[in-house]
Amino acid sequence: MSDSEQVLSEAAAWRRGGLGVALATVVSTWGSSPRPVGSKLAVNETGQMIGSVSGGCVEGAVVQTALEIMRGGNSSVLEFGVSDEQAWEVGLACGGRIRIYVERIL
């Protein structure tokens, strides 16, 4: 089973079980980003997650957005760049940039 298949499979199982679910997908990268385009992370309403969209650098921020979208927000595109001292927990230490599409599973 591929990585994506595993993430999609878990997301579908959560949703079938009645949980709120959002799916995040890397849609573009610049420079040395940790995960390639197409990488996926699924999040459920209890905050459980499977898969990844970075090396763990931005997952926290993506989960926050995912939880908001699950509560009825619109799908959105997040962009993360190189980390600075103020925002180190939501930046990419590697110096790359990524865009991530986050959508709710209805």
Binding site: M1, S2, D3, S4, E5, L8, S9, A11, A12, R15, R16, L23, T25, V27, S28, P36, V37, G38, N74, S75, V77, R99, Y101, E103, R104, I105, L106
Partner: protein, 236 residues
């Protein structure tokens, strides 16, 4: 994305064939494209569809920017497959490792004692001679074939079938000397040097592997290097 659409996406992914998911990043509308199907609520005019088609032909997931919309085209290739010939000790490490790496694994061994569900739980097993089993599996450009028995009666027919296919990787366990003898035997079957050079032997990257698990790592490292066109894939 609606759950029903996610289920269709999952089915497409499980079918192991190539496809693409097209998402309008503004509206969230989506379309799933496979060889057989085109489903979803995203509509594209002819020109937009042609640009999506081009991204699919490039076999590279990417954003296609259009005057009025931004569309993400996620392309996936057919599943990777690994055919393991010989249900030996090393195979017991190789099979789970290959599954972890995303390969659909099939184990072939004519000896039922080796190709047993006890030794290989949840694995597709074929108890059959490789000259029958391997051609039937139709190895393609997304398939790797590995022989592990050390027994020419079992390994050679598998290698011959693999050499007659487009398999992207062919590897045979055995020492340098064994491999020289193997090349001579296969040469007598009519394979020239270029064909014989497709067989990686001794199999695996030279990481000094000793145990079955280490040999499995070395084999999967080499298969990965060939798949990803790493310089490590080229033998001196």
């Amino acid at each position: 994305m609606k759950l029903a659409f996610l289920e269709q996406l999952l089915d497409a992914s499980r079918s192991r064939s190539a496809g693409a998911l097209v998402t309008d990043l503004g509206s969230g509308a989506q379309r799933l494209l496979t060889l057989q199907h085109s489903v979803g609520d995203l509509s594209l005019d002819d020109e937009q569809f042609a640009r999506v088609r081009r991204a699919i032909d490039e076999d590279r997931s990417q954003i296609v920017a259009m005057p009025t919309r931004e569309v993400f085209v996620e392309v996936w290739s057919a599943a990777l497959r690994l055919i393991v010939v010989g249900g030996v000790h090393t195979a017991q490490s190789l099979v789970p490792l290959a599954k972890l790496l995303g390969y659909d694994v099939t184990l072939v061994d004519p000896r039922a004692a080796f190709a047993s569900a006890f030794r290989f739980p949840d694995t597709s097993l074929i108890i059959e001679w490789p000259e029958v089993a391997v051609p039937r599996l139709e190895p393609d450009r997304r398939t790797a074939v590995v022989t592990l028995t050390h027994n020419p009666r079992i390994d050679d027919p598998a290698l011959i079938a693999a050499l007659r296919s487009e398999a992207f990787y062919i590897g045979a366990l055995g020492s340098r000397r064994t491999h020289e003898q193997r090349r001579e035997r296969l040469g007598r079957e009519g394979f020239d040097a270029a064909a014989l050079n497709r067989v990686h032997g001794p199999i695996g990257l030279a990481i000094g592997a000793m145990t079955p698990a280490e040999i499995a790592v070395s084999i999967m490292a080499e298969i990965t290097a060939v798949l990803r066109r790493s310089p490590l894939a080229v033998r001196a």
